[in-house]
Amino acid sequence: MSRTEKLPLKAIFIAPGLSRVKRGYERFVLELAAELRRAGMDATCWGTSEAPGVEAIAIPGRDELQMLAFERLRADQRFASLAPNVLQDWAMYAEDQLFAIPVAARIADLLRQKERLLVYAKWQGGLVDASGAPTQLLKILASAILEGKASLVVHTDFVHPSIDSILWRAGATFHALGPWISEQLAQLGAGREGILEFPMCIDASAYKNCRRLREQMRRELSIPENAFVILSVRSFDTTTPDKRHAQLLGEISALPAADKVWWVVAGSRGPAPAAWELTARDALGSRFVPLPNVSFERMPGLYGMADLFALASIDETFGLVYLEAQIAALPAVIHESPVSRYLCSALAADIRKLSLVDMRRPGCAAGAIDRWLHLLSKRAGADSVNLALNQFALEQERRFGWAIVGPQYAAAFQDLTKAAPQQHTRTPAAREFGTWDEQTHRQGVRLFEGGKFREALLHFGRALGRRENSERWNDWATAQMALTNISEAEQGFRRAMALDPRSAQAAANLGALLSASDRPAEAIPLLVQTLSGVDAAEQASISKLLADCRAKQDAIAPPTDQQMSSYLRSLAGLEFYEAIRFQEHLPYYLAVIKSIPRSSPGQRLLGVGSDPRVLASAFARWKGYDHICWRAENRGARHTDGSAPAALRLDRFNLEQAWPYEDCSFDLVFIGGAIETLSRDPMHVIAEANRVRKVGGRLLLTAPNLDGGQAVHAILHGKSPYVRGRFSSDSHNSAHSHEYTPAEIESLAVAGGFSAIRIDTRDIYWRAPGKVSPALAASGYPVGMRGDTILLLARKESPVRERYPAKLYDLPALPPAAQDEIAPATMVSTSVAHAAKEHSETRRPLRVLAVHENLPRPDQSGADFRLLQTIRELRAQGHSVTYLAARGFEEERYTPALIELGVDVYTNDADVLRREGIEIIPQWTLQELLREGQFDVAIFFLWFWMSVSIPEHHLDEVRRLWPRTRIIVQTDDCHGLRELRGANLTGAWSDRERAQDYREREGEILRAADLALAISEDDRKRLLENSPDSEICLLPMVVEPGPTGPDFGAREG
């Protein structure tokens, strides 16, 4: 058929967002329509408003609808773990539902006019509604397909089983963008006849000779000719971490030759977020070149002037930008995924290895870029690479250029119209894609394979909530592993094995996890079990793991459960009560004995808890302890029948008073069945345990788990979660005064000067009802640490760090000096305060809340350098510090410095960020922090870089929620005066107004605070002029001496 012949077919491209031709899909649709027109077809694009090549169908109330949809999705707990940008994308589809109404009317009209139609759309383009049901538009098309009057081609860049099932039954043909999509569709049951596999294409002519624009474009951007330029694109359209700007910036900054590298970031939308741009500028200076609002026409020039293309995104559905770079014959460093592997399949293997990296792993991109730098700096290497890249560019043009592929599209679309209607073969029964939970689980698998672990987890959880099985738990746990939630993963694998003890996959995964967690004894039986159930390739790696575990295992084989049980049974008394008690506690004894580290000769153990005869004997026999002291309870007299080891000494003392031992006299303290019975001061026990233990010695602490599955089940049914330790009618047992969660036990230990070696929970007394774990997983709550008993093994690191941790103790407020006589803060005279100070009790360390817009970034600015100095000094003076950074996106690398100082860090304040145009799911609230922290002092750092300053955000809330907190505002500038001085030089109205704005707000803030800190005496005086009644103290910087360098004569200008 000649190109000029008019075909009796009208192609309609439905794309609601077509007026905003920014995204790859929209551009692709326009170009495909143009190709079909070139081939003689009548092709029309329908969008939401006027644009070149687009017929507009207006949608009233579009923004309102999107907002409503977003709010609904956000309020839905099922989606609570999804990032807001994902929900925003979903909300965008709301517009498409509205768009589908006039589109359906027009389609019906065209069909009435006997037009033969081919309709091309995404499913989001109004074919399926938000509840997953077919829309009127799809129903009209399905009828027309059935009658042979229309064809429907659905652009498929991602497989959604439930939706694709509907489309399939409606007679749609899937336009699969590559083999990875076709395979998924085929696995779901779609016949090959219903799949049209064609790649997305580009106009190669624009890119293939773009290198000639190199000099011109570099001149335009003031980039030196000899600079090594890295180009990244599509980087300004979101502030969420998905595009991973900071990742790439960090990688480029880490390059050994970073000072030679320029980074050009071209975005099709507005300017980059200011904070990110500043960070990039600080790191690279003028070598960072952000280019917002770049048109497609300008892109070839940018590819032409670059030396390397790099994109840190791990989330490209097709990657047209990869193609552009490839046809421009540009070396690339991109994330390895099924898509990028497909696009690079014709690339020479050694270059492909340099180009595809795991962008999730820190250092991979930097390594690859560095290798490219090295390779291209050598003439011979550069020549051979360029030759290979040019050949590859030609091949890509053949595979993905419109000139070659466009006519193939036209022919394929034409063939579709000739094919007989297929609706009769697509009955729901024959083409059912599986149950809802099966589809959801499969979707999770695909998301996992695409590197979207959080979303995969959500799907796995939802499938589990409907029906649990071993495979689902195994996949759920694997996703948890990928997210480094080890405890969750372990629990998931254990659940998988509980449901199918023969599951080789779950056994292998759990074995590998335990091996990596340095628990070889537990890993070995699992790995042995695995060996017979996996293929040869996996067998090799399992064998290696097994060998490693065996090498790490103790030289002395640990006793088996059976051996230990027999021995322990021989120690138990024959009296009825004792026999019953022994039987009940046997699993506990076994768990404790296994958790106790083996003794070296001469080591001493102190036991606090019940059953000294049984446990002490076991410790002596199986763990080698030959000096054991044990606290005897009043009823302990029953254990004196001579079966206890000779090395055991029983001492009577009150746990909640000083223990009768010298400092540092034990290597291990075991506390079991004790801490939950204490009614007044559990930290006393921890503090005494610290005192009597040698530095580096161990603590094994066990306690019932208030957060266990059984307790959760009980409380959900309106019963008490205190499922153990009830009151006893014969006073034989102690009732539990306070039960703990694993997190509380760990924080007790940390406050007591220990660090956790391992914290674990076991179902020792009861097994939690089966419904609990799937229900928790389905709702996104943790399932790990749900056993009924907590076992903590910890190492002594220091003296007690915090005698009364705020999370566990209700602490008294600091009394103000001469409280009765003095009301307002500003009226306290120095002499009165001094007198009060003289008479006050020992000045205890303060609990300080520090709130700033960002994490301290001392390598970025002097102000941040000073900020870190302040925090460091607070810690040095013994105060506990909780640091709250309103934003922490892409600044995670600054957190460890604070954590090393012993600071609790919270980032990303949802309430602040929403004012900055960033929506996130809140992970914490100010109210929770205040309640847990019981802060004596809050320090707000005053800057005006955000819409609302930190004091304006938090001051009133802290006063309202926790009135005892003193509020200090620290300011490193007189912000109003600074701006006024600038305004006096520029004479600009806006500068004067801003100066006045800052001055007024600064005064308002100072008046509201209890105290302010100024950086210099001059600033202090000026701040007082603005707020005369405020109390302002001086807090200068610290300057460290630097090397003085050579004398006068050896220096230049």
Partner: protein, 349 residues
């Protein structure tokens, strides 16, 4: 040596001043002596065209750079606080020439710990002296370093922090005032959409519009003082977060409300200044022939309605005049099914 973050407008101002007004005088007495520009954000075009300027740019550590040069020039023309670069230079034994404003806050004494000069001639003389006088150089290097290391020693800061926290302990915290509302956050009660608008990226522009609208309505209600404050809040974003070109160009509709409000507040001078600046950054702004854009009225919420009860409803009669007597109609669809909102909308129509 000059050290700065060149993205900071204050830094650009001071080095411009130096190169234009001081450097020619220095060149006359010290021909061939160069200024080394050190620091992040040095754009290729910055200071282009000046002779005897060496562009160094960002350096990973400053000690090496300090060791090369005879002095740090810090011709600070505006700012407050402590100038970290001066502290660092002095701590490395590099004498500093600064201005009275630059010396503020650090207790620097002229001729003892630094040279201080404000007028271009004095500044140039100071540079020439320090560059040529070995004795003065040694004295200032030692004096400046000793002064800074004493004044900014760790012990000083530790002691003052301890005293400040002791002071805080002795205070009785002020009480929460439920009536208090920060001026900057008033609009969140007037126009809750600024916190919830979708897509969120548009909230900054919406917020600016809300400040302008709040000012307009407060001015109409006779609360001139708060109206002025709301107008000023717009400028807390300009130019650091929103360039002036954007405010007067892409967001001209906001500028228009502001200009009108200045006039309502009888601030003719303010309105004129505002227009002048607008024209400077967006030449088409406020031309006589320019047809003003029509802003949609923000939807009143139930909360704002009850608060504003009694205030005259906003009149939208300007559109009819602008449109040759023909009325513009808006059809308002209450997406949240709020009957109160619908009532207010219909009333406004």
């Amino acid at each position: 040596m000059y050290l700065a973050d060149y993205n900071n407008p204050a830094s650009c101002d001071e080095i411009d001043w130096y190169l234009q007004q001081v450097a020619p005088l220095v060149q006359a007495s010290l021909p061939g002596v160069s200024v080394y520009l050190v620091g992040a954000g040095l754009h290729p075009e910055f200071a282009a065209g000046y002779l005897d300027v060496v562009r160094v740019g960002f350096v990973p550590e400053l000690a090496t750079e300090f060791a090369k040069h005879r002095m740090l020039i810090a011709p600070v023309r505006y700012g407050t606080g402590t100038k970290t670069k001066i502290l660092h230079a002095l701590a490395h034994g590099v004498p500093v020439i600064t201005t009275s404003m630059g010396a503020e806050g650090m207790g620097l004494a002229h001729e003892e710990s630094a040279l201080i000069a404000d007028a271009p001639e004095d500044y140039a003389r100071a540079v020439t002296r320090l560059y040529s006088d070995r004795g003065l150089w040694r004295s200032l290097a030692a004096g400046g370093r000793a002064h800074i290391l004493k004044k900014y020693a760790h012990g000083v800061m530790a002691l003052l922090l301890r005293e400040a926290l002791d002071r805080a302990r002795d205070l009785r915290p002020k009480q929460h005032d439920p009536e208090h509302a920060w001026s900057i956050r008033l609009i969140e009660a007037y126009f809750p959409e600024v916190l919830t608008h979708f897509p969120p990226q548009q909230r900054t522009a919406l917020r600016l519009l809300a400040y302008a609208r709040a000012a307009e309505q407060l001015a109409a209600a006779g609360n001139s003082a708060e109206a002025r404050r709301q107008l000023r809040h717009v400028f807390s974003y300009v130019p650091y977060r929103i360039p002036r070109e954007t405010l007067f160009g892409e967001l001209f509709s906001i500028a228009e409300v502001m200009e009108r409000t200045y006039r309502t507040l009888s601030e003719a001078e303010g309105a004129a200044e505002f227009r002048r600046e607008a024209r400077q950054f967006a030449p088409a702004a406020f031309q006589e022939s320019c047809t003003p854009l029509v802003l949609p009225q923000p939807l009143p919420t139930a909360e704002s309605q009850s608060r504003d009860r009694g205030a005259a409803p906003a009149k939208a009669n300007g559109a009819a005049k602008r449109n040759g007597g023909k009325l513009d109609f808006s059809v308002i669809v209450p997406t949240y099914n709020r009957s109160e909102t619908l009532g207010a909308c219909l009333h406004a129509l």
